[in-house]
């Protein structure tokens, strides 16, 4: 039963908090920008294909232009040669944006602890969710997506995200 102002407005109007309605919209229409570099990207392809079907979570509109995306999925190893490009693409994404590091390589360098591999992309850009595995199963990608959705729920339009992040390239 509606109380207060809602009682007066009838069925046609819903009142809610601004944060709540915006977050609701953001949660279920994440547009991923897939930064696929290596083997993990193949597992992302599986997550997008029919069997696991990422569109069940509202995130099937895969954009390859960072300017149209708000979720960056880093699938694969990032080398030092690649790092400036990763950062540039991240910088091109409009706020608010979320980042998932998919797989051991993106999260920590994985099995490649050597002269050319960045030891975790969180040294370059801020990361919201890490997925373990080499490669992670497609289910894990979906799980990460849900984690991002949960995270979005707790955010506020009034607060800027990751303002004071400083990586190796800043």
């Amino acid at each position: 039963m509606a109380l207060g102002i809602e009682a007066g407005l009838g069925d046609s109007v819903l009142t809610t908090k601004l944060d709540e309605i915006i977050n609701w919209g953001r949660q279920y229409s994440l547009w991923p920008m897939v930064f696929g570099t290596a083997c993990c990207a193949i597992e992302f392809m599986s997550a997008a294909a029919s069997q696991h079907d990422i569109s069940r979570f509202g995130a099937e509109v895969v954009r390859f232009s960072p300017r149209q995306a708000d979720l960056m999925l880093v699938c694969g190893t990032i080398s030092y040669k690649q790092a400036p490009i990763l950062k540039r693409i991240y910088d091109q994404m409009p706020d608010p944006r979320w980042v998932v590091a998919m797989g051991a390589c993106a999260s920590s360098g994985g099995i490649y602890d050597n002269y050319c591999t960045v030891q975790g992309i969180d040294t370059v850009i801020p990361v919201d969710v890490f997925i373990s595995g080499c490669p992670p199963r497609p289910e894990a990608v979906l799980d990460a997506l849900m984690k991002i959705q949960e995270k979005i729920q707790t955010e506020s339009v009034l607060v800027d995200r990751h303002k004071d992040f400083k990586g190796i390239l800043d």
């Binding site: 696929g36 290596a38 083997c39 193949i42 190893t77 040669k81 790092a83 099995i111 002269y115």
Partner: protein
Amino acid sequence: MTDSLTDKLQVLFPEIEPRTVLDCTVIDIDPQAVPQVMERLKTYPDLGFSLLLDITAIDYLTYPQKPAARFCVVYTLRNWERNWLLQVRTPVADPEHGVESVAHLWGSADWAEREVYDQYGIIFRNHPDLRRILNHWQFEGHPLRKDYDIFKGQICYEADSLEKEIRARLASKGIDESTMQDINTEMMFLNLGPSHPATHGAIRIFTALDGETIMANVNEIGYLHRGFEKTAENRTYNQIIPLTDRLNYCSALMNNIGYAKAIESWLGLEITERAMFMRVVLSEFFRVQDHLVCLAANLVDMGGLTNYWYLYNEKEASYDFISRLTGARLTSSFTRIGGMYRDFYEGWEDDMEQQLKAIEKGVNDSLKLVLQNRIVHDRTQGTCVLSPETALSYGYTGPNLRSTGVSFDIRKDNPYYNYESFDFCVPVGSHGDVYDRIMVRFEEIFESIKIIRQAMKMIPEGPVFVDDHRVALPPKDQVYNKIEGLANHFKLIFEGVKVPAGEWYDSYEAANGELGFHFVADGSGGPYKLKVRPPCFYAMGGFHEMIEGEMIADAVINLGSINIIGGELDR
């Protein structure tokens, strides 16, 4: 057959003494003799080494039996018609002085020499464009030298501009500022990649355009350089198997097999019959997988999304079989030196047969959309044509080479694992265009399925691991109850399989072409050096030859059609 090569070499170069290592002939020459000898090897009709497979170097700084010169450059050549494999070695004492480039003889030498320069700092004199290829331009030092610390990473702050290179390329085609003024136009420079949906990974295709026509193209790779070779030098032989998974990750198991086969050849280890058949079945199954992904992605690039579902869904379904067998979907790590990690599970034949049927159906459905489709024909026939000469010169192998009409396939020409007893054809193209590359892959899927069916009928029962405790772990009851068993197990795990000192090259027909491994062993449990001969690397090296003069949209589908896999390209 190798004998006749030895004779021929002795007649032509009386001062050189050829040796034979496995099925490869090796000659040592002076650095000054490189231009002359290499030219003869390529141009003398008696020799006719049309394929320069690979160039690598060895740094003997910490090698137990140190030769006089610190470095040695090794060229691997092949005459595919006569099944001759030749390695030419030349010592390099002073890397700054280096050796003469052979890039004017073989197109593949261009990138191969750049890689050696990048990794070892050896100069190739008169190379057209000697600069780094795998490491970034701000990198200092040469990582594969033995005195370079494996953990010493170097940050790159900015991508390379490549403008100088593309202008040089334009000039080499006779297009300079004055021509542009004459035709009253300006070139437009366009980047495809390094992060672009068409590149399926991280490659940078930099083009100079006149309208939509590509006038010149230079490519930059190395974005996925993960230090495979340096890491391998710090692992034991069996520990490297998971690393090989990640070379061509669309057909991980094939890399496992090629790698294990290379070491077993050197050890002179005959794996069991059943293991051989398992390897054939799995090789062919993964060849199918690889082609499925390649075709699915290629047809999506053309706008045929439905094909993606038909083809990729079958791959997805195959993962059920693969993960039941290996425990992993993508990165299988299923071989060991001396055999297979374990046997097939009970009832695998039915699963496999079902899988094959499903794949046949998916592929036939997709073919129905493609074969009579005018749009596909118009887009692919006659586009990005590769001539057999260019393909050979750039070191193309596998389906890409076969699409030009060259029927080289190691499974037929130098068979291993009883391939000679299987009944299968090697599909070849006639034009070397995108259409041929697509169709050769479609046909190979059917041929591979044929081989799998035959192998499934013939596969004998028996162990899948050799009974040789130099390489195989002892049974668990011996490990737990006997000190010898325990010590044996401990040594194999901690020190690795002991491989006698020496150097050798071994090749294998992977989904993308000739996958070779060049080893230098020092007698310990891990390689002193391990170089991969990646088929993709050379396919990409000749990419500009195919797309210059074509439209920009054709470059996209052409890239899909040669199946570049980043892990193998950049290692």
